[in-house]
Symmetry: C2
Subunit: 234 residues, 2 copies
DNA sequence: CCATTCGCTCTTGCATGGCACAGGACGATA
DNA sequence: TATCGTCCTGTGCCATGCAAGAGCGAATGG
């Protein structure tokens, strides 16, 4: 029955389902708006409907799927407005993280950030966009982790999942000259953090997020993938 | 069996369970750390264990309960550190809301805030602490709503639920002179918003949250450095 | 040809029962 | 008396069955 038997990592069945479904949605393996049948998923994972159902319920509270009672479960499709709101939150949280990290002084994450930037410089030099995208992701994650606030971190993760940011970052970096500029902005932020100038670090970080957002929207076709009707862009 | 609950408003059974359990936990009807048995709740609500179970699962992702596999479900007891983190987030989000509201100009929420402050002035005058507590809650809610960002609002609600803030606000206002000072700070924030001075509004709002937090901790005889604050040690 | 209605099927919602594991009580043994 | 092993009870976890609402298409009446 159980075809995916090679995953003994977590004894809980539903935890496995949650992780796998979340991965698929974030990575984009399933199109936004696509229907998710409890029964179909249950058969695919070789389990009963119950854990699948609970997994979907949790993904709903995370904002990744939408359950319409007696109708079906669907992958959430963020509206244009929601994307704007999510970026506003991203700017807010990352800015705060920069300030908090600056206040903490020299902690482990600082070293990791420095190493990250060294590698990022090389990636930009080599014009290795894929590697740089990974490092960008790591940079932001390290920044959040460095804020040393677990609530901030968990809420940040939830927001990024809703944005499916790992997909978007590539689009953003495909703009000509964007990687180089992004790298410079990262350097500036870290520099300000090292100087313990929290206010400036926050301000620059927020500006960086806005720039990143602009680059993303510039590289995105008007109504995005599976765009929603009526929401004309800019 | 089924005590005639006068809540037929929502056809969904589990939605009712979620709402009711959330209300109890936030209001403090159940002590933090208390065990919640699926079976007991199912019998009390006159339903089966399945919807209760799904309700608890959702409350877990909201951070209100903790499910220890094969052991039991318990009301979350925020540690000292978590409380600090929650206040840090509160300060962050409310500050941002003030700035966002200032940028929006004169919207409906502004009028409601002005009316709120007029009533609050009277409540302070009468020394009606209970009424003032309600108005404080409303003030902050209006501020968040005025930011016009649904993501910010939902995350804010989640945080406040974890804090069980509606309980704490009374403690905070029991400090002598705190209501008057709080009222003045609210006036200042709204004034800055009306002047469209977003930066100052954010700054003052953040300071207001910090002051509120200090007043709270001063009136709260919290226990030792390790978690488990005041767990009804009978 | 078009609008309406009936009915079928698909979906989720809820109830129930068996199972496996955690934790403590209790007793046997050194 | 102290310590260890065993059993017993309570809990959440999962599987299965039944029921009810929603949506859609075909049949029907105009």
């Amino acid at each position: 029955m159980n075809r995916a038997k090679s995953e003994p990592k977590n004894g809980s069945v539903q935890a496995r389902v949650i992780a796998e479904m979340r991965r698929r949605i974030i990575k984009g393996d399933i199109d936004p708006g696509a229907p998710l049948s409890e029964l179909a998923l249950a058969e695919e994972f070789g389990v009963s409907r119950t854990p699948v159902r609970e997994a979907l319920k949790q993904l709903q509270t995370e904002g990744l799927v939408e359950i319409r009672p007696r109708v079906g479960t669907f992958v959430t499709t963020p509206s244009r407005r929601e994307i704007t709101e999510l970026f506003e939150m991203k700017e807010l949280l990352e800015g705060a993280a920069a300030r908090l990290l600056a206040r903490r002084g020299r902690v482990a994450e600082i070293d990791l950030l420095e190493r990250n930037l060294r590698e990022a410089d090389e990636a930009v030099e080599r014009d290795d966009r894929e590697r740089y995208a990974e490092l960008v992701q790591e940079f932001h994650d390290l920044l959040i982790a460095g804020a040393d606030n677990s609530k901030l971190e968990s809420h940040y993760r939830m927001l990024m999942n809703q944005l499916a940011y790992s997909r978007l970052v590539n689009t953003s970096l495909s703009q000509p000259g964007r990687p180089l500029q992004s790298d410079r902005e990262h350097h500036l932020v870290l520099e300000l953090i090292l100087e313990k100038d929290g206010d400036s670090a926050e301000q620059v970080m927020r500006e960086h997020v806005r720039a990143s957002r602009r680059a993303l929207l510039a590289g995105l076709p008007l109504s995005g993938p599976n765009g929603r009707p009526g929401t004309a862009g800019s």
